[in-house]
Symmetry: C2
Subunit: 456 residues, 2 copies
């Protein structure tokens, strides 16, 4: 193979620095998940195709990566079908497995499959890669991690309160201060659609409303009109475009708009409960904000809808989102299991932390010191010290060859190792170690105990 | 979907307890990898097919999971080829990507692709899943993790010394005492084949020798004879079957057998260096043992060969293995890069720890205490305590509904939560919390400070 090897488009290699930074984010999220009582599960990278197909709409079906059956996969394909040469029809005959597309459907499958072993309500978290045959573009990949926490089997609004706190806890732990946790409720959206006489056009209505930030009031109204929502109805929306003030004030205004909608009233009650609890409990660094235009994957959310945006000034889409979806497991035959959950967007959080230079210096688990190699005798002596340092939890190693000093020093430099340790004949005789600080160039002679104390 | 959902054969779901135990093993290995100066990389789950195909032999090619191209994957397939209906010929036309089969080939690809950004010698570790379309059986899965540490770009024997110490460090940290690290050297095997006049039958010879433990001396000799190795040659092997004593003594006996083989002598020198260094440095709980029958994936090892067996009395195949392979990256066009590395068998280590009941109790990150819910007022009060406990790194949560006390207690029991905390009207008035120990049933009244101190 003459040309340089490459990797498939939309995938990535991660070098040591990137892995360390990603692990820092994973570990921070994981610690908070566990702090809040979520427990980890893992599911296989590929599922039976019928577990995944039909769960994400037609577009989703197309974006699912299918795995070719092993062996002579054409043997059982009937000639009549084969000769049609139709990829769509052939696929289910030659592929029975598919790569995970998200973590929610596998979680629902897991809950149904293991329902007899699960104690409900079940709070699980899952941090695993997913794959989508999307057109790769900046910030969109064909393999990426999802970090999800969900509760299944509880309709309590305390779960929503917990998720708001969890977002706050994670972003505060990441020192990513000033994120906005936007909240809405499907029942509010249904109520509004009801009030303007567009209940049958709920999806069109919310899709248009969702664009308010991007295209502005007039264009939203035009789109609604084009979708067949009456001018009279749209006029009733006017107060919605003029919602002002804090959470409580906005709720008050919504009250008026939704006074005639039972479902809308229920949505208001839910928002009020969550807002009251969060006001009492307080948030560390995040802000909770009502956003009645927030819809996200509306067709499966049934209650709360969440979305998190990065601190002001950082250009970035949402860095997290979620909501409540009743009947999570219904698709697999287990009815009446309400689910609610949130997700963290690892890649975007990474980019935000990078932009704000907010990764701590301790993220890198680089070695603290490199022992310089002066030959086998000195190296063996040094290796005894290496062993002693490691037993005190100090990451260290010996340069493997008795190469020229300059080469070894350069190696330490390039790897940004803070210290080198020199052990030559003189040091062996005096039982001292010469510790050199690589940035300042300063050197000192230390006994093994002092060396350990200094580096520990 | 009426029937219960399932997962593809050879794959597994992991429940919270299993994930916690697996993470304990991962974390222990990772800590030692970093202690020894290895740095993490990650590569994509799928590679371009031509990166993987042809690297693992015909059998390997068959066991690689191929990913079907997205979209209309038949469009570009020529009719003449298509009508042949030949799966082997069709595969490369409809599939361009394949799932990772091991971590070594992707690592080699990574090194070549990023050679200009890498400072050599490069010590990397990688812990990621791999996929093989093997026939599933007990202990063999289609998706499993590999945990590899390798050095590329160094021929120093100190690397081999380090890997012996690394095995010892990991298994000692896992409290898995008494493992045996078996070592051999490809040059020893070549030397023996040379001495018995079977250099051209090195593979047949080592495959037969490798079975000594399983089928015994006579059968091994029969197999060699059948493979065309001369009776005279086999007779020369006799001393090999009678190797006795410790490492140094066995080396002495090998010296005699291999006195006429230059390559064999080189192998002996290497083994002696490693044994000398390990004898000087000492091992914590493992034993280093010479095993001249050890061959493993001989066709790519060129120097040291390692294999680790579980403590005596535990029935289990090898729990780790590795070796040196010159020219690791040659397959991708970068010559003269020696590699040496070891692997840890996660699934088998898990089974051994399970059998020996050697997982620590602290593995589980379960919550420490469940707050009982007596209604919204009490719950809000409790949530303030929940928040305070969490800020002191105590994992805790509130039961989400004001269900009957018995039901809430049963929930705590089933989840094996050690404590429940009761906050009713009385407690709210006195600013005390009733802490109940779930096993003993004992209760005590504590202030928030005392509660935190007790559970921290």
């Amino acid at each position: 193979m003459a040309q340089k090897p490459s990797i498939p488009k939309g995938t990535r290699d991660f070098n040591p620095e990137q892995v360390a930074k990603r692990n820092y984010i994973f570990n921070t999220i994981q610690t908070q998940f566990e702090r809040f009582g979520f427990q980890p599960i893992e599911t296989p990278s590929f599922e039976n195709s019928d577990t995944l197909m039909g769960k994400y709409g037609d577009e989703g079906d197309r974006l699912i990566f299918k795995i070719l059956n092993s062996g002579d996969f054409l043997r059982k394909v009937e000639d009549s079908l084969y000769t049609e040469k139709n990829a769509t029809k052939l696929t289910p005959k030659i592929s029975e497995k598919a790569l995970r597309y998200d973590l929610t459907v596998p979680f629902a499958r897991y809950v149904v499959q293991h329902q007899n072993d699960i104690e409900f309500p079940f709070k699980r978290y899952q941090m695993q890669p997913v794959w989508r045959a999307d057109r790769p573009q900046k910030g969109r990949f064909r393999e990426f991690y999802q970090c999800d926490a969900d509760v299944v089997g509880s309709t309590s609004l305390w779960q929503e309160v917990e998720f708001v706190q969890l977002y706050d806890a994670v972003f505060s732990a990441l020192q990513l201060e000033g994120v906005t946790i936007k909240i809405n409720n499907r029942k509010i959206l249904s109520g509004i659609a009801e009030v303007i006489g567009a209940s049958d056009k709920l999806i069109d209505f919310t899709v248009a409303l969702d664009k308010l930030d991007k295209i502005g009031e007039e264009k939203v109204k035009e789109e609604m009109l084009a979708k067949g929502i009456s001018e009279e109805g749209i006029n009733k929306l006017q107060p919605l475009f003029e919602l002002k003030g804090n959470f409580a004030t906005q709720i008050q205004q919504l009250q008026d708009i939704l006074s005639v909608s039972e479902e809308g009233q229920k949505g208001i009650e839910e928002l009020q409960f969550i807002n009251m609890a969060i006001a009492e409990l307080g948030l560390q660094t995040a802000t909770l904000q009502l956003d009645v235009t927030l819809a996200r994957g509306l067709n499966y959310y049934t209650g709360a809808i969440f979305e998190v945006s990065a601190p002001e000034g950082v250009k970035m889409g949402s860095i997290g989102g979620g909501g409540r979806y009743d009947d999570l497991t219904g698709i697999f035959g287990l009815k009446n299991m309400s689910g609610v959950g949130i997700s963290f967007g690892l890649d975007r959080i990474y980019l935000v932390l990078e932009e704000l230079d907010a990764f701590p210096n301790t993220v890198n688990k680089n070695i603290k010191a490199l022992f310089i190699n002066f030959g086998d005798n000195e190296a063996l002596y040094a290796m005894k010290a290496v062993k002693a340092l490691r037993s005190h939890n100090i990451n260290t190693e010996l340069y493997p060859d008795a190469a020229k000093m300059g080469k070894q020093m350069k190696h330490a430099d390039k790897r940004q190792i803070p210290y080198t340790i020199l052990v030559g004949e003189k040091e062996m005789e005096s039982s001292k170690y010469t510790l050199k600080h690589m940035v300042s160039g300063e050197q000192e002679q230390l006994s093994l105990d002092k060396l350990i104390a200094k580096l520990a």
